[in-house]
């Protein structure tokens, strides 16, 4: 590997100076793609015919990248990692991808995900399980599993992701890289296969905060095809990274971070929290104030259920367009409903079907008040609780997950009661549409672990700058996966 381990700014400089060409970068990235595909199964499609682009003043020009397979890419297979769309080639681009293309970015592959983004393991895609490049017996988490795997393995400096619960920020943690989703609506959702529209965000996985800022600067913008997008032309993420965070105020939540809150904490969990508090010390050294705050435990306990109810409800409706009639492989049967039923029965994995059943159940007239509407109310309470914190603090800083990447042969998507809030709190970022970034904060048994910084809506510059400063104060920037023996 000569180039693909480098940051965007470094590569841009080399391209500008003529030290390397776009073609050479793409060639190396494609070779690495095949290697990584063989080892970790991260891609649905590798674009061997990808061409170099003209080098402009845009930092992204001529540099290869990966695109998650739920982004519509014109003329290129886009499956959402689902059998229901295994041959689907869109005839229009997702706005975010179109913008990257315009910037001169070169897509070299489409990355594997959990089917339609539903799942947090990277194991439910129709092309099989994505393995963690730090330890192939472990998962990458999901749903942006292939993107996280490829960036950590050094296939390219960045890959796009989408995040409905934590689908960018958790795989980033498990793969030792940076995962950032900006404020809801900063990047247009047009052309992204929807999972749960009110929670869906686009974002990026990179190996450092500055690269994340550069990429999102190029993806964002108001879009006439997405009414929830907004004008962010006054926000310049990359330019706002000064590293000066003196006087900034952070808080962490006692109920999540205090090891005394757990009955029988594992050694792993203890180490994870130690890492976290070491990072907190770094924050203080940087001149930030960090305080412990308390959030009602009843409210925190409801978090995961709220997510399940709302995301499943929206998903079951959003994915009703998948019938195999207009696109997708036509099912067998004499009538349209028989064909639709056959297509959906065969096409979807059991996990998705389970979620559709939950979604339908909570939306039924007789259940809607008890489940769906209550979930919406609790969502509001949780968002208000976080907004209250943002009145006093610039951001909430919390550890991600209960430790490093989980074993693939363990219980995959089943949550232990003890650590459920620790595992799922990133979802509040989706409930509120908050800007949220995960950065690595250490190792446990040579496997990376991470922390997350989440701020108030539209305060992306501030959130990224805090992450940038903290990243520079720690030793985990630009790290590539090193397989544990």
């Amino acid at each position: 590997m000569k180039y693909m381990n480098k940051s965007l700014s470094e590569l841009h400089k080399m391209l500008k100076n003529g030290e390397v060409t776009s073609e050479e970068l793409i060639k190396e990235s494609l070779e690495l793609s095949h290697e990584v595909q063989d080892k970790y199964n991260a891609f649905v499609t590798i674009l061997d015919d990808a061409k170099g682009t003209k080098i402009t003043d845009n930092v992204l020009s001529g540099i290869p990248c990966g695109i998650k397979d739920n982004y519509s890419t014109r003329g290129v297979l886009s499956t959402g990692s689902s059998n229901t769309l295994k041959d689907y080639v869109p005839f229009f681009d997702a706005t975010a991808y179109a913008k990257l293309k315009e910037a001169g970015a070169v897509m070299v592959n489409k990355t594997v995900m959990d089917e339609f983004g539903m799942g947090g393991t990277g194991t439910t895609g129709h092309t099989g399980v994505v393995l963690n490049p730090w330890d192939p017996s472990r998962m990458c988490a999901g749903s942006s599993a292939g993107s996280a795997c490829a960036v950590a393995a050094g296939v390219y400096p960045y890959a796009t992701g989408s995040d409905t619960g934590d689908s960018i920020r958790k795989p980033a943690a498990y793969c030792g890289i940076v995962g950032y989703k900006p404020t809801y609506g900063m990047i247009s959702r047009y052309g992204l296969f929807p999972f749960a529209s009110s929670l869906d965000h686009l974002g990026v996985l990179t190996r450092n905060v500055k690269d994340a800022a550069i990429v999102v600067d190029n993806m964002k913008g108001i879009d006439k095809y997405d009414m929830t997008s907004w004008d962010s032309s006054k926000i310049h993420l990359a330019n706002s990274l000064t590293g000066n965070v003196k006087g900034k105020k952070l808080c962490y939540i006692k109920e999540i971070c205090d090891i005394a809150e757990y009955d029988n904490p594992s050694d792993e969990l203890k180490e994870h929290m130690d890492n976290f508090f070491k990072a907190i010390d770094k924050c203080k050294e940087l001149g930030m104030e960090v305080e412990e705050v308390s959030v009602d435990r009843t409210l925190l306990n409801a978090l995961a259920s709220v997510y399940v109810v709302i995301s499943c409800a929206e998903a079951t409706s959003n994915m009703s367009n998948l019938t195999g009639i207009i696109f997708g492989p036509r099912g067998e049967g004499k009538t349209w409903d028989e064909q639709t039923k056959d297509y959906r029965t065969k096409g979807f994995s059991s996990l998705i079907k389970r979620r559709f059943v939950i979604g339908s159940y909570v939306l039924q007239a007789k259940n809607q008040e008890r489940y769906f509407r209550n979930a919406q109310r609790v969502r509001r309470l949780l968002v208000d609780a976080w907004k209250d914190l943002f009145k006093k603090y610039d951001a909430v800083i919390l550890p991600v997950s209960s430790g490093p990447a989980k074993k693939l042969d363990g219980d995959k998507d089943i949550l232990s009661k003890e650590t459920v809030t620790l595992e799922e709190h990133l979802q509040v970022g989706n409930f509120g549409g908050f800007p949220s970034i995960t950065i690595p904060d250490g190792f446990i048994n040579n496997l990376p672990v991470a922390l997350n910084i989440t701020g108030n809506c539209y305060d992306d510059e501030n959130v990224l700058n805090i992450a940038y400063a903290l990243e520079n104060a720690m030793d985990y920037k630009d790290q590539l996966a090193k397989e544990v023996k």
Partner: protein, 486 residues
């Protein structure tokens, strides 16, 4: 024992006059070529998102105001989830009655057989239309031209008592939509579709008390006004007969039926027990937004004079009869044509006679609209009404030739040599000629007999091939003959 019927309507009107569809940028236009006006949204491709058409919202609010409804403070949409082959997303973006759609709790005054009536409006809401299916012999094809077109659904309270009232209301609403410029309301293009619900109850009971109401039967997708009237009549008869036969409880059940034009009867489709749970929830892709007072005021100010007011004005200011006024205002385009002709200085009564007479019968005979004929208010004024150079009989010929040959009226008159001879000197010459050639007829001429002149006038007309102005020729001939006989 007598019964009264409780009839309610759900009137779906396609807002055909927006440029683009309600949630997509495809053209909103009727087309006979299938799948001509489509964008990815209309076919529900993965990743498409709705974008609300402001004009469609404006039209919906305008209608809501005319229906005396309450308008919402915030605009929002809901998803109605159900699987149907002509609805590619398998959910429809619409509005629910709670908390409030684009309009709620209003009323409309309309006329039925000369009597003023009022119907209460439960609500009016804006939604997207489905695609249309064509059922062929052994297959069904779908045309997405109509998919995501703006649709206004108006729901009335069960205030109608007869089919005639329901039909009069529909006709009234058609003029409202046309006058507002919201819809062409062309039933041939499927712009208007109705669901009709009918129940009957003992006439001695209080209709204000819902517990007295009978079993409600719904007829879906009745596509013509006459069909609405006829299916109501049929249902009232069917339900009344069931009451009289003592079979009401078994035969009249809460169900959905359809109106069969061919057999002129309603046929059971499905019972309400199988009703679909639509799993409504707020559409997450359309943020709810505030309707500003300024915008609402602007919309209110833009509401034009409606048919009812126009009619009153024609009667009061132009002295037209109620009968004529009603005909003129029924279609806005006809009424506009009439107004333009009058504005050009034509006598209103004469303009009315032409529009209601020749023009309407021509349109009806050819089954076309006023847009389709080669005749403008200018032409009507210039050549047919005010110009005294041709006779009224000739004017009708000119009218037909203008339309058939698509020529300017003046050109027709010229080409056909229809110009009248009005010059007294020329006529006098011909009159003298006729008198000189007919000494015998002068002999027998009796000034007391009114018919005695006809022969001489006939000769004048023969010589001028009918172009001599008859009244001048008549006056002159009579004078000369009477002088000769003195």
């Amino acid at each position: 024992m007598g019964y009264i019927a409780m009839i309610g309507l759900e009137m779906h009107c396609e807002a055909s006059e927006t440029n683009t569809k309600v949630f997509s940028s495809a053209r909103n236009a009727y087309s006979v070529t299938p799948n001509e006006n489509i964008r990815p949204y209309d076919m529900g491709f993965p990743g498409v998102l709705p974008v609300v058409n402001k004009k469609a919202v404006e039209y919906a609010i305008k209608t809501s105001m005319v229906l005396n409804c309450k308008q919402p403070e915030y605009m929002y949409f809901e998803r109605k989830n159900y699987y149907y082959p002509d609805m590619p997303k398998n959910y429809q973006i619409t509005q629910e009655t709670k908390p409030i759609p684009v309009g709620i709790y209003g009323y409309v005054d309309y006329e039925c057989e000369g009597e003023e009536k009022r119907v209460r409006v439960n609500n009016i809401h804006l939604e997207e239309d489905a695609a249309s299916s064509d059922h062929l012999y052994d297959t069904t094809v779908i045309d997405y031209n109509r998919a995501a077109n703006p649709l206004l659904e108006l729901v009335t309270e069960p205030d109608f008592r007869t089919g005639e009232e329901a039909m009069a209301f529909l006709e009234h609403m058609r003029t409202v939509y046309q006058y507002l410029g919201v819809s062409e309301c062309d039933t041939k293009k499927g712009h208007i579709r109705c669901d009709v619900n009918v129940s009957i109850m003992d006439e001695s009971l209080d209709p204000e008390d819902p517990s007295n109401w009978g079993t409600k039967v719904e007829m879906k997708n009745v596509n013509s006004f006459g069909g609405v009237r006829d299916c109501i009549k049929y249902e009232i008869k069917r339900q009344t007969k069931a009451k009289e036969d003592g079979t009401y409880d078994t035969e009249v059940i809460q169900e959905t039926r359809r109106w069969d034009e061919e057999t002129q009867s309603t046929i059971a489709m499905r019972s309400k027990v199988d009703a679909v749970d639509y799993k409504y929830f707020v559409e997450p892709n359309i943020p709810k937004y505030k309707l500003t007072k300024e915008w609402l005021d602007e919309i209110r100010a833009s509401i034009p004079e409606l048919a009812y007011d126009r009619k009153k004005r024609y009667m009061n200011d132009y002295g037209l009869s109620e009968y004529d006024s009603n005909i003129l205002v029924k279609e806005k385009k006809i009424s506009d044509f009439f107004e333009d002709t009058v504005k050009l200085g034509t006598d209103p009564k004469e303009a009315c006679n032409w529009v209601n007479g020749m023009i309407l019968s021509y349109l009806n005979y050819h089954m076309i609209t006023i847009d389709d004929i080669y005749m403008t208010p200018d032409m009507l004024r210039d050549q047919l009404i005010d110009d005294k150079t041709i006779s009224s009989k000739q004017a009708k010929d000119v009218f037909n030739k203008v339309l058939e040959e698509k020529k300017e009226p003046m050109q027709v008159v010229k080409d056909e040599g229809m110009m009248q001879i009005t010059d007294e000197g020329s006529i006098e010459g011909i009159v003298d000629e006729v008198l000189a050639e007919n000494p015998q007829a002068i002999e027998t001429y009796d000034p007391e007999n009114p018919k005695a002149l006809d022969y001489f006038i006939g000769q004048v007309m023969k010589k001028t091939r009918g172009k001599a102005n008859p009244s001048i020729a008549y006056k002159m001939m009579k004078e000369k003959l009477d002088n000769l006989k003195k």
